[in-house]
Symmetry: C2
Subunit: 359 residues, 2 copies
């Protein structure tokens, strides 16, 4: 499939993974799980599926150099820079006009750099199946089969099966559902009709542009201005002019919820959102006390189900349960594991107090 | 009172205050509370009561230099070195023969370097009163009026009052009681007859030597050998020969429990045993969240009743209660506050694993 392209969304800042994730080195640019960065994994996963020159990346200006340096096989011109963050609809739209300029027949897979996928082979196969479905004009989304009643993800409710492609069930989408409370999430799981919204989408470039035109006409007009400039000057200046006026909107709210004939392919690929330190703890095999220790010399007396990441220092812990300890060169974070989401509040405090050296 | 002397016991290693207290810099040699070390405070407290040349110190060979350097007014020859730790009876005995050699009429106050005393003025006054009582031939001990039913201290049960000296109640001791369980400790408090055994004793040198002769004849004989050598060669060599054979015994068990006409002066001087990090937490005024932060830059989200000592690093804490965090150049300790005693288990692990760089 020579006109199948991937777009890796790599613009996030990852404040919930502070203090490892920093302003000049966001989470997708770090070796969080092993000796490859999250972004390198996102590129690695596409190997055999499509060549590096068909991998596009959208990110922020301050991250371009570090990310490009990590994947030398991906051409530098495939990195699309957002002058400022305008959420997923605009980021995808910007990449889409670049891609349309390059190949109007393109089928585009929108992928992420902040998820871990255990079963990479299956991921490749389902992407390939999704591309076949997208080629028929559908908007396709990958639905993750829920492993627990998460209240942290949006859900996709499916209708009847439309087809089976390469062994994958292909279903009509009934609706997109925002993050539920625990009762509803539990109910969702019992029906078997819901999957997690992974934020991975596959569509023809012509189809998504038509959706922008229909559902987000203001953004579409702005994208068309950029498209016109792309054909002549390269577009950078026009993007700089237009972008500050672009409204922030998610692709889910701006396009997906209002789109017709949307397809979901529910799949189990060992997908994990690397959202916070608690998620990273879950990715590792704990020791006999339920502890996960990464890169630290650790001595324990009565410490259980905790996550410790070093660090040049010896970390000694006594009588702790469900605690996260992260030691970096300039910061020590000690956090209750069930409060891992609140790491972003520390980052907000640092911002409001102007302590930029720790951001 | 020109023949009143103080002996400061400064030989402990303070493993429960690791990782600040280290093998080459034990807790008495560190600024644990303010900018004076515990040992300096022990010397400072005697100011106006007796001159520096009447302050004796008994300690281990490896601590002599650091301690002597901290109190330049105390003559170097007043530091008595134990070749190895042989517990309090032998340490006091060794100091006693040195002191008898210098002044057979001496009255000796045995004091500690690992306690904090808030009311220094009252401490001086009660010591002075105790010296007057000791001069009558009694063994005197300072009893600390208990502020809570501690199970960590031995207790002294008093009989009827014998006298009042300078406003202090002077009572006969009924018995010394080992560390009780919580029920007994609670009962002790209701009677009003019990005080904590502070480990501070005041006696004539002739009296304590007589007690050694009567109750610990083996130690007494060993001390007499040292005394004989003191009169001629200075004694260092004889101490090196004799000390390995000395049996370990506490002064409480070896002498106090079997002594007659022992006096207790129960007193409230704001005394705290600086035994572990939980005790140091208690010494400070906590902030509105009950936290005590010493020398660290600290950011908190939902952290309560915790103790944080830095450190060059920013310490960020989220969702913690009753936690102790100590950051040093090579170690981070994170410890449940009610497990502060178990810090010594970490030190034992380090010893058994031969990780001497952290000791």
């Amino acid at each position: 499939m020579s006109n199948f392209y991937a777009l890796i969304m790599a613009g996030g800042s990852g404040t919930r993974l502070w203090p490892i994730s920093r302003q000049n080195r966001p989470k997708q640019a770090i070796e969080l799980i092993d000796n490859r960065t999250m972004f390198q994994h996102a590129v690695d996963r596409l190997e055999t599926l499509l060549p590096p020159d068909r991998i596009m990346v959208v990110t922020a200006r301050e991250y371009v150099e570090i990310l490009a340096g990590q994947v030398p096989d991906v051409p530098r011109e495939n990195f699309i820079v957002e002058p400022m963050a305008r959420d997923t609809a605009a980021a995808i739209g910007l990449a889409a006009v670049h891609l349309r300029h390059r190949d109007p027949e393109a089928v585009m897979a929108v992928l992420t750099a902040d998820h871990y996928i255990r079963d990479v082979d299956k991921f490749r196969r389902v992407l390939s199946a999704a591309a076949q479905v997208a080629r028929q004009g559908h908007i396709v989304t990958l639905g993750i089969q829920p492993s627990f009643p998460s209240t942290g993800f949006g859900y996709i409710r499916q209708r009847e099966q439309l087809d089976e492609v390469d062994g994958f069930e292909v279903c009509w989408v009934d609706s997109f559902v925002e993050k539920p409370d625990l009762d509803r999430a539990t109910e969702f799981l019992t029906t078997g009709l819901y999957s997690w919204n992974s934020g991975m989408f596959i569509w023809q470039i012509s189809r998504i542009m038509a959706e922008f035109a229909r559902q987000m006409p203001e953004l579409y007009a702005q994208l068309q201005m950029i498209a016109a400039a792309l054909a002549t000057s390269g577009g950078t200046e026009v993007v700089s002019d237009v972008w500050p006026q672009v409204r922030k909107e998610t692709i889910d709210y701006g396009v997906m919820e209002g789109a017709e004939d949307v397809i979901v392919i529910p799949v189990d690929i060992g997908w994990t959102d690397i959202g916070d330190w608690a998620a990273i703890y879950q990715l590792h095999e704990p020791d006999g006390s339920g502890n996960v220790v990464v890169g630290a010399e650790h001595l324990s007396v009565g410490t259980n189900t905790s996550f410790i990441q070093g660090g040049k220092k010896l970390v000694a812990t006594i009588g702790l349960e469900n605690v996260i300890i992260i030691d970096t060169d300039d910061v020590i974070l000690v956090c209750a594991r069930d409060r891992a989401q609140d790491v972003k509040l520390i980052v907000e405090q640092l911002q409001s107090e102007g302590k930029i050296e720790f951001l």
